[in-house]
């Protein structure tokens, strides 16, 4: 009896490998990696757009969680609407999440589908032996060379997604008699013209791992991988622009230069990584896994910018017909004629609604002085080093202790360079936004007082030179965690705790004129101690009936990305920076028998003392602002249900769905720095009842899964709703509501505008494949997957409210007059791709 349980426990521990060979899971793992990223990649331009990211989620025993990760990725579904930073990704026990933003950059493992199939997943309250676990799930990929299925694999795929062609080759040797194993792979993804016009894609992924296993229980493995990528991106635009372009994928970021398409926002991303893992099976009850990880990530993203001129973006609001005439307002013939002229211009030629590069070059060549239009590049060069160690000890088959320690250090240099002067002959490192506010001779307008010449003139910068800002954020973290799992009669419970320490500081390399004493050199150091405890248990009520409960509390250190008030300008931390409090609870019921597997559960996450950060142009003060939102209180709660019914041995029927809510509970404090002045303003922002954006809060899916005779066909009908767009803080500042007199006459309270929503709807996805086992033991596989078979292009996958005001203000800050163009009614949106698919042929030998 005990032996059986022992075997069962061991089997459970190794189940991920087992599942990896299961045909269904193979598909899942493959699809998850692919879809999770390909749909969002075009919209991932800059670091701060990472809110569009998806969560990596899977499960071996939860019918809901095992599906949502890949099923809903076309709509960028995030598990429980939580920010991606609560979704942890590990490789060989080492944390891979970016230390600054907290989020995991999927591009780090993009293209490595064949190597990311050995993965342990842990839902928020599931026990695991690699981490404390996170409220949006944790995943631990096994990148050891010896864990890769032996054999060679080659595949060729064609798609009409962000990339059009993909070639892959992998090799894994498995362990030989001497205990050596080698695994290697190369993937190349390419598109000259991606699904969205004006985008291209070029990515090479490589993987190389070697492992040596000794008979004494030690094993050492070294793996290195990277995914150098160059791709161009899609910009969100307004419904008016999409309507005029007659194209839901209108992309304002590209234009014609000499007849060729050129995109202004190109991302270059390369993060070579390496991990050295030492496994020590101390005895058959104890295992120690230690990894040392290093990654140097180089990220660069370009942007077309302008100096003193009008914004050359084709969908700049002054180029839109609705900026001349409000079709819903009073009739005015002159304005209507203007609207018509603008509309005719937009719709007459494609070139009229894209960037006109030829014009930008012409203007630059004919100007004396600094470039009027130029391409700037935002760089993030980041070195991360970490050491993680986890010890698992099974006291008995019923009692397991996991103890772990992680040490990590991260240093990231953020700077801006000139990428292309577009035919101009010069540029200077001066704060052009502040000139005018102050005289040109005033040192306040300099970006770097250290490089100003003897006459007080800003330094001349050329292509490749740094300008604007140049700073480094340094962070060190230490974490200790432990978890105790015990089987106690019908209960299996896990208690876990963690404690961590973070230290962070900024080091500025430019002395900004507005903050001459507080921008160059090291900032003060901020220390945080955080931690958490949680308790989860599952009760095997009766055979097949399991009740699971979980409760947890943790304190979460703010990420370095949100901790500084305006890192581009000075060394200040956000005022009142606090650790975030997170209370989480979950209850679920699972039923499983021979043919039916169902889960239903509810969850509740409550966060307080949250901190968020963003920057945008705020009209009312006529300059760029850096905004910190503090004292945020949020609640995430909902019901999740999943059902997988084996109707016959070759047909499964699946139902999956969630009804959830993710909202801000209070009116937070907004503290913003006006970039042309040295002062900081604090006021209340009416954030109450704003929702998390960019993910559908209601989803449902009905699916059929056919698998017989080497054929596998999937059909899923998915329904998405309650998609909110990212809300604009400045529209809801108390001062803004006062200016616009947005007050309830009866109660005297301010009324904040409702949050913009995106349209949801039905999307049908399917895939069909056949695998042939050839006589020589090799396997040939065909797979054709289509997303959005019904071509429903009307669904919005994400977007943001515009932060500019519907009105102008006087110098004193009072309401002046309304603008014809209503920013509040013109949110920028991304629409989901229409019918798109991939056809792949693979050969395993």
């Amino acid at each position: 009896m005990q032996k059986k349980v022992k075997i069962a426990v061991m089997a459970f521990c190794y189940s991920p490998l087992v599942f990896a060979q299961n045909v269904n899971s193979e598909n899942q793992a493959k699809a998850l990696d692919e879809n999770a990223f390909t749909f969002t990649e075009a919209q991932l331009g800059e670091d701060d757009n990472m809110s569009q990211n998806v969560t990596i989620l899977n499960s071996t025993n939860n019918a809901y969680a095992s599906e949502v990760g890949f099923l809903f990725s076309p709509m960028r579904f995030r598990y429980r609407a939580l920010n991606q930073k609560y979704n942890e990704v590990y490789i060989n026990g080492a944390s891979m999440n970016d230390m600054e933003s907290g989020q995991f950059r999927f591009s780090n493992i993009g293209g490595l589908n064949r190597f990311t199939r050995n993965v342990e997943f842990a839902l928020p309250f599931e026990s695991n032996n690699f981490a404390y676990g996170s409220i949006a799930g944790s995943n631990n990929y096994d990148f050891r060379a010896g864990s890769m299925g032996a054999g060679q694999y080659i595949s060729l795929a064609g798609a009409n997604r962000n990339y059009t062609l993909r070639g892959m080759y992998t090799y894994a040797s498995g362990f030989n008699e001497k205990g050596w194993a080698v695994a290697a792979g190369l993937t190349y993804r390419w598109a000259n013209h991606g699904y969205v016009e004006g985008t291209f894609y070029n990515a090479l992924s490589y993987f190389f791992g070697v492992q040596k296993k000794w008979n004494n229980g030690h094993s050492l493995s070294f793996t290195t991988w990277g995914n150098p990528t160059e791709r161009s991106t899609q910009g969100a635009s307004t419904d008016e622009a999409y309507w005029m372009a007659n194209d839901y994928y209108y992309n304002p970021y590209w234009g014609y230069q000499n007849g060729h398409k050129r995109n202004s926002r190109v991302v270059n991303d390369f993060a070579p990584s390496g991990i050295l893992t030492w496994d020590w099976d101390i005895n058959d009850k104890t295992k120690l896994t230690t990894s040392v990880f290093g990654k140097y990530s180089m990220y660069k993203s370009t942007k077309l910018n302008y100096n003193n001129a009008e914004n050359p973006q084709p969908d700049y609001w002054k180029n839109m017909p609705s900026s001349y005439y409000d079709v819903w307002g009073n009739y005015n013939a002159a304005d209507e004629a203007q609207w018509q002229r603008s509309y005719d211009y937009w719709t007459s030629m494609k070139m009229h609604r894209q960037i006109n590069w030829d014009r930008l070059y012409y203007a630059n060549k004919n100007t004396d002085g600094d470039a009027i239009y130029y391409i700037q590049a935002k760089h993030n060069d980041n070195l991360m080093l970490s050491m993680s160690s986890a010890l698992t000890h099974n006291f008995t088959e019923k009692q397991t202790l996991n103890v772990g320690i992680n040490l990590a250090a991260n240093t990231a240099r953020h700077y801006q360079t000139i990428d292309d002067l577009l035919g101009a002959s010069q540029f200077h490192n001066i704060n052009t936004y502040a000139v005018g506010e102050y005289a040109l001779s005033n040192p306040l307008v300099q970006y770097d007082l250290n490089t100003v010449d003897a006459n007080g003139n800003a330094k001349s910068v050329g292509v490749g030179d740094t300008f604007g800002y140049d700073y480094r954020l340094n962070e060190r973290k230490a974490l200790g965690w432990l978890s105790w799992s015990e089987v106690f009669g019908i209960a299996h419970y896990t208690a876990a705790a963690k404690i961590g320490y973070t230290n962070m500081y900024r080091n500025g390399y430019m002395r900004n004129g507005l903050f001459a004493d507080n921008s160059y050199g090291k900032s003060k150091k901020a220390d945080f101690v955080d931690g958490g405890v949680k308790l989860s248990s599952s009760f095997a009520m009766a055979p097949g009936h399991t009740l699971a409960l979980g409760i947890g509390y943790e304190k979460h250190t703010p990420t370095a990305a949100t901790a500084f008030s305006a890192p581009e300008m000075n060394n200040d931390f956000v005022l009142n920076l606090k650790n975030e409090n997170i209370y989480s609870a979950e209850a679920s019921y699972q039923f499983q028998n021979g043919w039916l597997h169902a889960n239903i559960g509810g969850y509740y996450n409550y966060m307080s003392n949250g901190t968020e950060w963003q920057n945008f142009y705020f009209d009312d003060v006529n300059s760029f602002t850096y905004v910190s939102l503090t004292d945020l209180r949020k609640a995430y709660y909902g019901l999740e249900a999943g059902l997988n019914a084996k109707l016959t041995s070759w047909l499964n029927f699946k139902v999956v769905g969630t009804i959830s809510e993710a909202k801000y509970l209070n009116n937070a404090t907004a503290t913003y720095l006006i970039s042309t002045k040295a002062n900081v303003t604090s006021e209340t922002v009416y954030s109450k009842n704003m929702r998390e954006s960019g993910t559908p809060l209601k989803v449902a899916s009905l699916g059929l899964d056919y698998h017989l005779g080497g054929w596998y066909i999937d059909l899923n009908a998915n329904y998405y709703d309650d998609i909110y767009l990212s809300w604009s803080p400045s529209m809801r500042y108390e001062s803004t509501l006062k200016t616009t007199k947005s007050i309830d006459i009866n109660t005297g309270e301010y009324i904040a505008p409702e949050q913009a929503k995106g349209k949801g709807g039905w999307m049908v996805d399917g895939s069909i494949g056949k695998s042939f086992r050839l006589r020589n033991g090799h396997q040939l596989n065909f797979n054709f997957s289509i997303t959005n078979i019904l071509n429903n292009q009307k669904m919005v996958s994400g977007g943001y409210e515009q932060s500019r005001s519907d009105y102008t203000v006087t110098d004193a800050g009072d309401y002046n007059k309304a603008r014809t163009y209503k920013f509040s009614k013109n949110s920028k949106k991304y629409y989901v791709f229409g019918t798109n698919g991939m056809f792949q042929v693979s050969y395993r030998f």
């Binding site: 000259n192 291209f200 070029n202 090479l204 150098p228 160059e230 161009s232 230069q257 000499n258 060729h260 050129r262 995109n263 190109v266 270059n268 390369f270 070579p272 140097y296 180089m298 302008y306 003193n308 001129a309 009008e310 002054k318 180029n319 001349y324 002159a334 203007q338 002229r341 603008s342 005719d344 211009y345 006109n356 590069w357 030829d358 014009r359 070059y361 012409y362 203007a363 060549k365 004919n366 100007t367 004396d368 009027i372 239009y373 060069d381 070195l383 292309d420 035919g423 000139v435 005018g436 506010e437 102050y438 005289a439 040109l440 001779s441 005033n442 006087t810 110098d811 004193a812």
Partner: protein, 439 residues
């Protein structure tokens, strides 16, 4: 670490060298990508004559508007635009005869229409009108001449060649403070690029700025005549600056300055719109390049006796403080044939924007003034060019007449002024010169 990064990026770059990211050939700029390149100047008229066409002149004067339905064009140089944020949503266009403002509803016009850009404007379907009697071109909007929208504007203009700032500077004229009240002067010069010399800001106190923020969007600053210290009435002449100008928060310069700008008008007032505050627009007044009163002696002038008859040993000589330098070849009531030149010292006009020679002259006994007395200029003391004098002496009396000659074409050079006296045996005039200045 940096090296590694460069190597890594280099490898990445190599890999993708052929691809879409990196290589963009510069566009061909021989055909401007702005404007309407099919406009042909079949019927170009001067800006001044455009403003004088009866119905248009009435529209300008009465702050009204008139549609231009004739197939005519004007061609001029852009003299002012929104580069420094002061001349907002309009450009000033000037040809040799006059100037006009063109209003366009677009920011960043300076990118397409930099100062010095020659533009051909097709006038048909544009509206001409006035605002405060300042002539302007635009399109009709709600009953007055409003902005030309950015879409229509593209059809009305054609860029001719590359911009050349010197072309704009060549059109700059000196403002005559004496005519500040003259309606004809206002009409003729409103909208032109001009410069005024030797004025000072009445409000300059080391702290006051051009356009401090307040309830107004533009601020008028008054001037005074720096030579006489007399205030110039602000209903006649002001420097008007927008609070949105890049130099709005710069301190007003103290002392005597020369100001260059677009001299627009608002009814009876000349409003100078600055194009910036660097030394080409506002600079401390240049001292006169030459002043010689001949009150005490010949000064630094030299005499070149080109031809003297037998018995004549001099022509030019210093006479007295009252008469200055006198040239005469009549000795003891006998006329002799001579030719002699009174030559000034070198005059450096390299920093000048414009220059005028002013002198007082008197004389009698000419055979023909124009033959006997020539005012000349030379850059090398060898080749001399005649200058046109503003006044020719009648020879009827001994009154001193203040005379000027324009030296604008010689701006940037070093010159010499020569007063050439010629006499014959039949006629030898007496010519007196004093109070010579070049400024």
């Amino acid at each position: 670490m940096k090296k590694f990064k460069y190597i890594a990026l280099g490898l990445t770059g190599l890999l993708f060298a052929s691809c879409m990211g990196a290589d963009y050939a510069d566009p061909d700029d021989s055909i401007p990508p702005y404007g309407n390149n099919s406009i042909i100047g079949t019927n170009i008229i001067s800006i001044d004559s455009l403003k004088n066409i009866n119905e248009y002149a009435n529209a300008i004067d009465n702050n009204g508007y008139k549609l231009i339905d004739q197939d005519i064009q004007i061609k001029g140089i852009v003299t002012g635009n929104d580069k420094m944020g002061n001349i907002y949503k309009e450009i000033s266009l000037q040809d040799k005869t006059g100037a006009i403002l063109i209003r366009v509803n677009q920011g960043g016009l300076f990118a397409t229409l930099p100062v010095g850009q020659e533009v051909l404007i097709n006038l048909k379907d544009l509206y001409i009108g006035g605002y405060g009697k300042q002539a302007q071109l635009g399109l009709l909007y709600n009953g007055s001449v409003g902005y030309i929208d950015r879409y229509s504007f593209n059809k009305f203009y054609r860029l001719m060649g590359n911009p050349d700032k010197a072309k704009a500077e060549a059109l700059a004229e000196e403002f005559d403070l004496n005519k500040v009240n003259d309606e004809t002067y206002l009409k003729k010069n409103a909208g032109k690029l001009m410069y005024i010399k030797n004025v000072a800001f009445s409000d300059a106190n080391g702290k006051n700025t051009y356009a401090p923020k307040g309830s107004d969007q533009s601020i008028n600053r008054g001037l005074k005549n720096a030579k006489t210290s007399q205030n110039i009435s602000t209903s006649n002449l002001v420097v008007r600056t927008s609070t949105y100008a890049k130099f709005a928060n710069e301190v007003l310069p103290s002392g005597s300055v020369d100001i260059t700008g677009i001299f627009t008008r608002f009814n009876k007032t000349f409003q100078i719109l600055l194009r910036g505050t660097d030394s080409t627009e506002i600079c401390p007044s240049l001292k006169p390049f030459l002043t010689e009163s001949f009150g005490e002696s010949q000064g630094q002038f030299s005499i070149d006796n080109i031809a003297l008859s037998e018995g004549v040993d001099h022509v030019w000589a210093w006479a007295s403080a009252q008469y200055g330098m006198k040239a005469s070849a009549n000795i003891s009531k006998k006329n002799y044939a001579t030719q002699s030149r009174l030559v000034s010292p070198a005059i450096d006009l390299s920093k000048a924007k414009g220059a005028t020679l002013t002198f007082d002259q008197a004389g009698k006994f000419f055979s023909t003034y124009a033959n006997d007395c020539k005012v000349q200029v030379s850059t090398d003391l060898k080749n001399w060019t005649d200058l046109t004098v503003s006044e020719e002496l009648t020879g009827k009396n001994w009154n001193f007449v203040t005379t000027t000659c324009d030296l604008k074409p010689y701006v940037g050079k070093t010159i010499y002024i020569g007063f050439l006296y010629t006499s014959t045996a039949e006629a030898a005039a007496t010519w007196e010169i004093k109070n010579v200045t070049v400024e």
